[in-house]
Point group: C2
Chain length 342, copies 2
């Protein structure tokens, strides 16, 4: 399964039997609104705290994904997930509701693909029949924890990002219909010395480039191999930096095929999101909602989702540390592309 | 590899090629002092914050484990680890130093065996040749984050636990000499409604019993199969509760063979640790230091390490939530026991 130094290529390609996405009202006013399963008008979803709301989004996405795969939660062997909150409580409390054996993971916003990579690995290698991968984030719980009380109404620099409220889940199975996971590349930590916690895009861009380059090297493929290479949440600033770095390394990324989930989820003209979206839910809902639709229809045949994470905490920032970035990549193929190759 | 509902049994048993443990001064005055590789007299280890000290302990343990396995960090395919700090920063910053492709995990104090289980799985199934698993905790960073400023000198109830300062790491390899990993059981979240964050032992005990019972069921073995079944950090209160629960379920655990790392690391008569030790480093340093010595010498032939975690956060406690517990179990065999069975 190991290919090159840090990638897995799956001989028995695990199937993404189902996905589910639940988002908040603000995401429901963005251009991808129709691709999500539930758009809540109440960002609290009836809970008395943002943290509990975040957990509820994840519980809903998990329940839909399991039901859609025609399974019961008792049939799912493992749940792998994480979130941005201290001690990943949204996920752990959702795992309490699910009662599925649980592997908590953390890679900040890269958690979406870290969990999908591990779920795919376990299923492909016979460690499980069915594994659920799911992550979440909530704009208000993230602002409260990482930045200032929203009541302050403090201004943000234009390179700041807007944490997505929502949750995305995928049910990975050994057999079934649906897009398949072909490969995954686990990233290493890259830190170029950025110390401004608002500038996460710049901090994560070098990690995204490092992981994509490693993926190409390990699998001996180039950018042409994919219809789309989509980063998690570099947003405008980070995406431009990543583009520049690829140019510097003479890797010919296609301008129109190199995209970013953080730039796709909101409408820049109408929504005040500074550089774009972020959060564990950003790449999760764009991938499991929007991109999976295009993979199922065959409009996209082969994509590489490169979820990016900024691994700092408010305390590490206060202690003068810089921001370590990481990115994990998962290659997903449409059913047609998967069967054509066999 | 899947056995039963939530366990993996390894056909190609991965080898724990090396382990390393680094602890603080207080642990150095406990009964296991001679089993640790480094006992620091300065709990800050020359750093200017407890968080940076915690990271340094982990970096040291990782470096020793890699060197002892006669490898360079470039030869290690993945590093899997986590800790108790918000956004597991000690581990992520150590992963930045290591530059090994990195999978961050979180299971509170169960992280030690979550990371060893995943490392063993990856190596056994061909996803890697060498994987490093390592976790850490620091008494002062944990007190600061989860409880009160230590300067307050606030009193603790007798059922509270004392977070271990230290780090433990294990290098899991496809081949080599050393104890082997035979199986692992991934736990589910169990929550019996405990709301007192000082009473973690009671919150985690039912999860430990649930995972051990699942392990017996999945592998179709009983307590006799192991020379020692050792929980992570239930300490006195939780260990007694676990014993009672086994009795209630009519599972005949051997009194002398059912142990707890949190009760082994400190000297109750001389050290003020209330119910005993805790923290991601507790089961890590006891297992990788003390128990590995006994496995290497053959004094222990077969053990089950059941690391336990309390998955709450200060915020979830303030919001009236109860404490979700989890436990992950890893079965380790001495080289003699492993070869005798073949």
């Amino acid at each position: 399964m190991l290919k090159g130094h840090q990638s897995w290529v799956f001989r028995d390609k695990p199937v993404i039997a189902s996905t589910a996405t639940v988002v908040g009202p603000f995401e429901g006013r963005g251009p991808l609104a129709n691709d999500f399963d539930i758009v809540h008008e109440d960002s609290f979803v009836g809970q008395d705290s943002w943290e509990k709301a975040e957990k509820t989004y994840l519980e809903e996405a998990a329940a839909i994904a399991i039901e859609r795969a025609k399974l019961t939660k008792e049939q799912v062997h493992f749940y792998i997930g994480g979130d941005l909150l201290n001690q990943i409580t949204s996920t752990s409390y959702a795992a309490r509701t699910l009662t599925i054996p649980y592997l908590g993971v953390f890679g900040a916003c890269s958690t979406s693909m870290e969990s999908l990579a591990l779920a795919s690995y376990l299923v492909s290698s016979g460690g499980a029949q069915h594994v659920l991968a799911g992550t979440c984030s909530h704009n208000s719980s993230a602002e409260k924890q990482f930045r200032y009380p929203t009541e302050y109404g403090s201004q943000k620099p234009p390179y700041a990002q807007y944490t997505v409220t929502g949750a995305g889940a995928a049910l990975v199975s050994r057999q079934g219909d649906g897009p398949v996971v072909a490969a995954a590349t686990i990233g290493r930590v890259v830190d170029m010395g950025i110390k401004d916690p608002f500038n996460m895009g710049a901090a994560m861009a070098p990690a995204a480039v490092d992981t994509i380059t490693a993926h190409f090297r390990d699998l001996q493929v180039g950018p042409d191999h994919y219809d789309m290479i989509v980063t998690g949440d570099l947003s405008k600033v980070g995406h431009e930096i990543a583009g520049d770095l690829f140019e510097k390394h003479r890797i010919p990324m296609h301008k129109t095929r190199f995209r970013d989930c953080g730039m796709m989820i909101y409408d820049y003209d109408k929504q005040m999101v500074q550089a774009g979206g972020s959060g564990c839910a950003c790449s999760a809902v764009v991938t499991y909602g929007h991109l999976m639709k295009k993979l199922r229809s065959g409009e996209l045949r082969r994509i590489l989702v490169v979820a990016t994470g900024a691994l700092m905490s408010p305390i590490s920032m206060q202690q003068g540390e810089s921001i370590p970035g990481i990115a994990h990549a998962v290659a997903i193929e449409s059913p047609a592309a998967a069967s054509a190759k066999e």
